[in-house]
């Protein structure tokens, strides 16, 4: 119910923050939204010696589309900002579909997308979305910035590749090469429940041809699963009913679900299959008209 004791710093510049991490010792955690970290500390599953609170760092609360077409999300951009964003509606269907489904409205007011990626919970929604979109994390350390693709960012449950003195400052979604469609479907038994299964699908079409596809799965493995075979099977051709069915099967096969109190492994695979089909059916409609798909819910 209450965290154990720790030291606390609230720097006012990024360099100060990085310096604190660099000198901080063995067990230092960065605090942004805190909606995953603080609950773990209260249950004493995490007992860091020092917390570096980055909420006072200026200029990190943004999300914007850059001239090159990439979408950039700052470390202090809250889930709620994305949920209410006009920028995302229409232009980023996969993200727009996922944002309202993260946790609950109060948690969304504090939690951050970048923080969620760093937390690397296998049941985190954003990781699937960013993986499907081919996104990356921008990390900044004493030596400067580097971009880490999502596929390389997470190494296991709650483990990411950041150095002890690096801070994730931004998440990037690369510019689209075609018209975006897709969505995010999640089976949660109630608002705020962790996903039984979540599926992110991101499609880009040029004419009727799919020029890029990404499918990623939440909650069916030790970490987020990229269903790369399924995505490849869709690429380079139009979306057809047969193609969708094939992709759904490949995605279900890529899942590594475990039987537990949320359901059998077989059931979870079934959900993967069904969600991939439903999202792609919505995209199919979009691809035919050339219009971005409505949220496939």
């Amino acid at each position: 119910m209450f965290p154990s004791r720790f030291r606390y710093e609230a720097p006012h510049s990024l360099d100060e923050a990085i310096g604190l991490l660099h000198d901080g010792g063995d067990y230092v955690k960065v605090l942004a939204g805190g909606q995953s970290l603080v609950p773990m500390m209260k249950l004493r599953f995490a007992s860091p010696e020092m917390i570096v609170d980055i909420n006072n760092l200026p200029g990190l609360a943004y999300h914007r589309t850059d001239p090159d077409g990439s979408l950039r999300i700052g470390a202090l951009c809250r889930h709620a900002d994305l949920e209410r964003s006009d920028l995302l509606k229409g232009a980023q269907p996969t993200m727009a579909a996922a944002a309202p489904l993260v946790a609950d409205p109060l948690v969304r007011n504090r939690g951050t997308l970048v923080g969620s990626l760093c937390h690397a919970d296998p049941q985190g929604d954003w990781a699937s979305v960013m993986l499907a979109l081919g996104g990356s994390v921008i990390a900044q350390g004493p030596a400067g910035k580097r971009a880490i693709p999502l596929a390389e960012f997470v190494t296991g449950p709650f483990q990411n590749v950041l150095e002890h003195d690096e801070i994730a400052v931004e998440a990037v979604v690369p510019a689209a090469r075609g018209v975006r469609s897709g969505g995010y479907l999640k089976l949660e038994r109630r608002v705020g429940d962790f996903a039984t299964v979540g599926v992110a699908v991101a499609i880009e079409t040029s004419g009727t041809t799919v020029v890029r596809a990404g499918i990623a799965l939440t909650g069916v493995g030790g970490s987020t699963i990229g269903a790369t075979e399924a995505a490849q099977a869709l690429t380079g051709k139009p979306l057809t009913a047969d193609g969708i069915a094939e992709a759904a099967e490949l995605a279900a096969a890529a899942a590594q679900p475990r039987t537990d109190h949320r359901g059998t492994a077989e059931y979870k695979r079934q959900l993967v299959r069904v969600f991939v089909k439903r999202i792609l059916a919505g995209s199919q409609g979009a691809a035919a008209t050339g219009e971005p798909a409505e949220r496939a819910a």
């Binding site: 119910m1 209450f2 109630r190 537990d260 359901g263 492994a265 069904v274």
Partner: protein
């Protein structure tokens, strides 16, 4: 000659907030300002904070406990272990079911989350830190997570602390006519069978349990603020256990953030906080966390059913048999009337005219928290009615009969009351068929059937579920009902002051039901005092008359009746005062709301307020002054509200997810004191019914780990999932034996509701031949049933890779 009507100055009962007025709630004024006074809001000078160390293992011998590092932490004042409690004979305490329960574990831990030690410190954070510094050496033992494991011949005996306990059986019990029922089955054209599990659930009010114990050495008085629905029962129990005389114990139940039965039992935390306060001579506050609440306090349900119905071909029920196995956890700590081991399970089928029946029941110990009977039900009536309506659903299917028609033809007829049920109850009144008519019309029954058939052709699964039931409220008459030997009457004390304002205190304890608002309405009805002029207090044993508290929906039937009776005693005295003031004999006095008048000269009268003043200033010779009285009410019988709940759903065959299309509730609870509050109670019960039917339960894995000990796993629906409700109040059958004709309502929807949801999903799956999916009817279970065309059970241990 003037007519009574011309001279009538009776007050408008609705205007003064009498019966039937949807008076706005008095208690709201403080809650909307954030000025409620809940137990955790109580702060006393010098107060210390207590935290409990709980066992991580479900069944283990305790080899040693080393608390030295905890004692050494700055700010720690006291560490209590079972061994220390044992030196004061407090390591074990009696339960309300004549068993014993560990306060702090001594020899063994018997469920995951059981209390092992507690720390009292200056600050709750330090108390928590200190708990982590206590080293306990456990030797794990084999674990029992369901009754069948407990009944195996080589199963470990969980209660090896009990002298004559050689197995894990708590009791065997039976009621009814075995031979007669056997004969009915022999004559039956069709026998319908059903087996299912009503899973372990938990009342889980948002506010957890807690106490602030304050022993004052200077006055020898023990004051305990605590989350209790039954302060007088607690006082009696503390007097027994702590050997302090009752008048030196003051239990104060302040505002309670929801009870639902969870705040009736006596928990180890209360006992430890009391002992700690006595030892330290300072107030000690214990507020549990949600995990402690879910994993160790009074749970609900967890009963297995084997049911059979003997049916005639035309649909008449000839008889039924039920066998129930109850999973009681590690201690038999049910708060229920002592004569009934399985509570009022045998009230099942009371709505139907069934000539003969037989019920057997068995209780089994397992490695889980103690309890079983809580959660918005009168002592297992939720199980009784769920089993009933699930069996009725299966029977109608087996007969090939329409669900509504099958129920209707078996209802007890309107003119057949009082009606003796085959298992020994006497139901009081009802208009069952009329309620069903209202419900079927509201759900548009015939049209739905057409829609359902059309939808099925297009691969869409719609379903409709009905649940009809009457249930016993208001336990109970002293011949049959007692808890720990104390009879289950209730009480009301009314003091009318000289200006006609009044204060009313009862032995009940509101936890959101609105007693501060509704009891005053009864006074307004009986005495014509505006409800706004009557203050209602409950919960302080120093001032409240002795009562058995609020649970099992007993307040309106019992305490409410006492309120009416005490008002009538006051009115009887006021009548004498009126006669004195009007200088006529009492026989010449008539009463209309708020006023006594002379029958032969109606314009001559006195108000009730004038009588009150006279009680202090102008009494007749020989009359004791004052206008105060107390009434204790021993209910002559239980009350029997009736309800029809109908739900329509659509099931997504690919994912198993189901959504509620419409939910209709028809409740006949007799006279409604405050219609707004009654509707609030029904909706609250329906929400809990929906929760239990769809997502809410506690289960265990094969190692005895509790799944559902926090809100991440114990799922309560939010406003987003919870459906809307259409409520109907057209049918009102007053209770013939209750002073104001009320029956009570608090739990009806939680009792009757779950079956309506489950029956609806079963109906949607109708073509698959699936007879049962255990609650909660989760999407994965629905999908499994649909895909494999088989029943799905959910009893522990939960399946895991």
């Amino acid at each position: 000659m003037t007519t009574t009507a011309d001279a009538s100055r009776a007050l408008d009962e609705i205007k003064i907030g009498g019966l039937g007025s949807s008076r706005k709630r008095v208690e709201d004024d403080r809650f909307i300002r954030g000025k409620g006074n809940y137990t955790d809001d109580v702060v006393l000078p010098g107060m210390l904070h207590m935290e409990i160390l709980r066992s991580p293992l479900p069944h283990a011998r305790i080899k040693s406990i080393d608390a030295s590092r905890a004692w050494a932490l700055p700010g720690v004042r006291l560490v209590l272990t079972g061994e220390m409690m044992a030196t004061r004979n407090l390591a074990w305490m009696p339960t309300l079911s004549y068993d014993t329960q560990a306060v702090l574990a001594t020899d063994k831990v018997r469920f995951q989350g059981q209390e092992v030690a507690c720390v009292i410190a200056d600050d709750p954070y330090i108390a928590k830190d200190a708990c982590e510094l206590i080293d306990v050496d456990y030797e794990p033992l084999p674990v029992i997570v369901n009754p069948w494991q407990g009944l195996e011949p080589d199963a470990p005996v969980i209660r090896d602390d009990k002298v004559n306990q050689t197995d894990n059986v708590v009791y065997n019990w039976e009621v009814g006519d075995r031979a007669g029922t056997d004969r009915a089955f022999e004559r039956a054209d069709v026998v319908s069978k059903l087996e299912l599990h009503y899973p372990r659930s938990h009342p889980s009010p948002i506010e957890c349990c807690g106490s602030v114990a304050d022993f004052n050495r200077a006055t020898s008085k023990l004051t305990v603020y605590m989350t209790t629905q039954a302060p007088h029962i607690i006082r009696a129990a503390v007097a027994m256990v702590a050997e302090i005389p009752e008048q030196m114990i003051r239990i104060i139940s302040p505002d309670i953030g929801g009870g639902f039965g969870n705040k009736v039992p006596i928990y180890p935390g209360y006992v430890c906080s009391i002992l700690a306060s006595i030892l330290l001579e300072r107030p000690v506050k214990w507020i549990e966390d949600k995990t402690g609440n879910l994993i160790s306090t009074g749970f609900a349900r967890d009963v297995y059913l084997k049911g059979e119905m003997a049916l005639r071909r035309d649909g008449k029920i000839l008889g039924f048999r039920m066998h129930t196995d109850a999973d009681h956890g590690a201690f038999f700590a049910d708060a229920q009337p002592s004569k009934f081991k399985i509570g009022l399970m045998h009230s099942t089928f009371a709505a139907y005219d069934v000539p003969v029946a037989h019920l057997t029941a068995r209780g089994v110990y397992t490695n889980k928290a103690p309890g079983g009977v809580a959660y918005r039900c009168s002592f297992r009536v939720t199980e009784a009615m769920f089993f009933q309506e699930r069996m009725m659903q299966a029977a109608a299917d087996d007969l090939g009969m329409d669900q509504a028609a099958f129920r209707r033809m078996n209802f007890v007829a309107d003119d057949d009351f009082p009606h003796r049920t085959p298992l020994g109850f006497l139901t009081d009144s009802g208009q069952y068929a009329k309620c069903l008519d209202v419900g079927l019309k509201a759900i548009d029954y015939e049209n739905f059937k057409v829609e359902q058939a059309e939808a099925r052709k297009r691969g869409r699964l719609l379903g409709l579920g009905i649940s009809t039931m009457t249930e016993p409220l208001g336990a109970g008459n002293s011949r049959e009902y007692d808890i720990l030997g104390i009879k289950m009457f209730d009480s009301a004390e009314l003091k009318v002051h000289m200006t006609g304002k009044a204060i009313l205190r009862t032995g009940a304890k509101t936890q959101g039901q609105g007693h501060e608002t509704t009891w005053a309405q009864i006074i307004a009805h009986e005495l014509g005092l505006p409800a706004d002029d009557v203050t209602v207090e409950e919960g302080d044993t120093d001032t409240a008359p002795f009562g058995m508290g609020t649970y099992a929906s007993r307040s309106t039937p019992v305490a409410g009746a006492a309120v009416a009776m005490v008002a009538r005693k006051i009115r009887a005295k006021a009548r004498k005062l009126a006669a004195h003031l009007l200088e006529v004999s009492e026989e010449d006095i008539e009463w209309e709301l708020g006023r006594f008048y002379v029958r032969s000269a109606p314009q001559r009268g006195v108000s009730i307020q004038e009588c009150a003043m006279a009680a202090y200033s102008n009494m007749p010779d020989g009359m004791e002054p004052g206008l105060e009285n107390t009434a204790y009410y021993d209910p002559p019988n239980l009350t029997w509200p009736f309800a029809v709940y109908i739900v329509t759903v659509e099931v997504d065959p690919e994912t198993g997810v189901w959504d509620v299309l419409k939910m209709v509730a028809v409740d006949d609870c007799g006279v409604r004191i405050n219609p707004m509050i009654v509707e609030g109670q029904i909706m609250g019960g329906l929400t809990e019914a929906y929760a239990m039917a769809s997502m809410q339960f506690i289960t265990f894995d094969a190692d005895g780990n509790c799944v559902g000990s926090n809100y991440m796993d114990y799922l309560l629906p939010s406003a987003w999932e919870t459906p809307g409700f259409e409520l109907h109040s057209e049918v009102v059958t007053p209770c013939p034996h209750h002073p104001i004709g009320a029956k009570g309502i608090g739990e009806c929807a939680a009792v009757g509701g779950p079956a309506a949801f489950v029956n609806a999903v079963m109906d949607a799956l109708g073509e698959t031949g699936v007879r049962n999916i255990d609650m909660p009817v989760l999407p994965d279970r629905v999908w499994e049933a649909l895909t494999y065309r088989r029943d799905v059970s959910g009893f522990p241990p939960v399946r895991q890779d």
